[in-house]
């Protein structure tokens, strides 16, 4: 927060474009608010530089995603319009959280919490509904697509999506960060600060992808497990908010009143966002069950012994996964296989993409 820290970190004309610029940008913007920058000759340059990171965060993925959509459209393949909408909204959330006004506000604890909610919860939820990995698998040239597939099927990807791993990654680091002096000392270590924020964003994306991502997720747990995972993460946030509130007077996180306001925002804000996550998760489950039910009814209407061979699907509908499964599996049908570079390339994607969810879907639940 102190002006000297901000300027010294930004000294020279090379403005860091990675996450390390958060605290610096924050202090720069805070300085602007205090009117101290007027005397600084490079003031307007650094002020504009504050917008570079949010602009990149917004535009780069937007262009990439748009290119993918255009390629699909050129092939005549269908891509639900809600996905680009979710992608844009998610990026807008992230960019807003990184914009100079938001980073300036992050100097106070409520602003920091708002930034945290936008970046690690709202943006990931929206982005996960845009199925960017599916889009990439359907539109990338063969070589990078093979690389992406290899990454998705790597052992580490599968172990990262284990519910316990997700829960620990998403919740555990928050406690020492906000309940010890770590939070204050981060401001003196820009690299560490960037690493911590990077981790939180990555963990938020992981949570959203495992819980409600439209993309197929390797080893995605069944719906009941996902509900429990969500509950653990939500409770983790809420308990933390209460502990922060109770310890506000220690002054570790700044002005006690601001800390209490931030803790309330964390408690209620994360409750709203996690409530949305449950709604999306269960709505996916409900839709998947509906598809299975219609299928059953059609079979039953056709008459005969279908009842015996019916799969026990509806109870454990794979949620978002099944939508992606259907979608990815639909690829070869959308466009003739020859259109995809490498001919049979489309098939492996579909076959590889779906089992993670389709196999999990046949598990029964009571």
């Amino acid at each position: 927060m102190s002006p000297t820290l901000g300027w010294s970190a930004l000294d020279g004309d090379r403005v860091p474009l990675h996450l390390a610029s958060w605290p610096d940008v924050a202090s720069v913007a805070a300085d602007r608010g205090a009117g101290t920058h007027a005397a600084h000759p490079a003031g307007h340059v650094t002020a504009a530089a504050g917008w570079v990171l949010p602009a990149l965060v917004l535009l780069l993925p937007l262009v990439l995603y748009g290119t993918g959509c255009a390629r699909l459209a050129g092939r005549g393949a269908r891509w639900p319009v809600g996905r680009p909408a979710a992608w844009s909204a998610g990026l807008a959330c992230a960019a807003a959280a990184l914009s100079p006004p938001a980073t300036a506000a992050a100097g106070q604890f409520p602003g920091h919490v708002l930034q945290h909610l936008l970046l690690t919860m709202a943006a990931p939820l929206l982005l996960s509904r845009a199925a960017p990995v599916t889009l990439a698998l359907r539109t990338l040239p063969p070589a990078p697509r093979r690389l992406l597939l290899r990454m998705l099927h790597g052992r580490w990807a599968r172990s990262l999506t284990r519910p316990a791993v997700v829960a620990v990654l998403a919740v555990a680091p928050l406690y020492p960060l906000y309940l010890t002096s770590a939070y204050a000392s981060l401001h003196d270590h820009p690299l560490l600060h960037a690493a911590v924020h990077g981790h939180m964003v990555a963990a938020g994306l992981l949570v959203a992808w495992v819980l409600v991502g439209v993309d197929p997720v390797p080893g995605r747990p069944p719906v009941a497990t996902r509900v429990v995972l969500l509950l653990v993460v939500a409770a983790g946030h809420d308990v933390l908010a209460r502990l922060v509130y109770a310890r506000a007077d220690t002054g570790l996180l700044g002005d006690p009143d601001a800390v209490r306001a931030g803790a309330l925002l964390l408690s209620y804000g994360s409750a709203v966002l996690e409530g949305l996550l449950v709604v999306v998760l269960m709505a996916d489950w409900y839709r998947a069950g509906g598809r299975a039910l219609r299928h059953e009814r059609r079979r039953a209407a056709a008459g005969g012994p279908a009842a015996v061979t019916r799969p026990p699907l509806p109870g454990s509908g794979p949620g978002g996964g099944s939508e992606a499964g259907v979608d990815v599996a639909g690829t070869p049908a959308d466009g003739p296989a020859g259109v995809l570079p490498g001919g049979p390339g489309g098939r492996p994607v579909a076959a590889d993409g779906s089992p993670g969810t389709a196999v999990g879907a046949t598990r029964t639940r009571s």
Partner: protein, 164 residues
Amino acid sequence: MSGRSLLAGLLVGVGVAAFVDEVVFHQLLHWHHFYDRSTTDAGLVSDGLLHAGGWTATVVGLFLFADLQRRHATVPLRVWAGGLLGAGGFQLYDGLVQHKLLRLHQVRYGVDLLPYDLAWNAPGAVAVLVGLLLLRRARGRGAGGSAGGGSPVGGATATGRLPS
């Protein structure tokens, strides 16, 4: 689907009780406090879990119920039993464990607590008792109706009625 009916009722019951607690007593009346100085850390953990769980339970319970309805597989008596057990159980847990054992916060401040505590816990206890009675009655009926039809979840009970 009788197990599912009970579960849906339980979840919605817990969720409704948590919702009423939050909206009426925390937000509207301001009787309850987010935190008071006697609150223990265990109390905070417990309250955080309930707060997060209330949302989740409501949403999951409603979706389960909607699923039962579209399959024409709802067992209403069990839904009611579950609802009462869930809401009453929540009320008792909140009133006895959270307010008293964990000293999270009291029903109201600056008053003689006894009548408030009675008014808080008695309805909870009654709801649990009625829920148990309903459950017993549902079990009696279930034994006559569909013996063991509940366990294969996506199976016999729901689909048996579909063709008609």
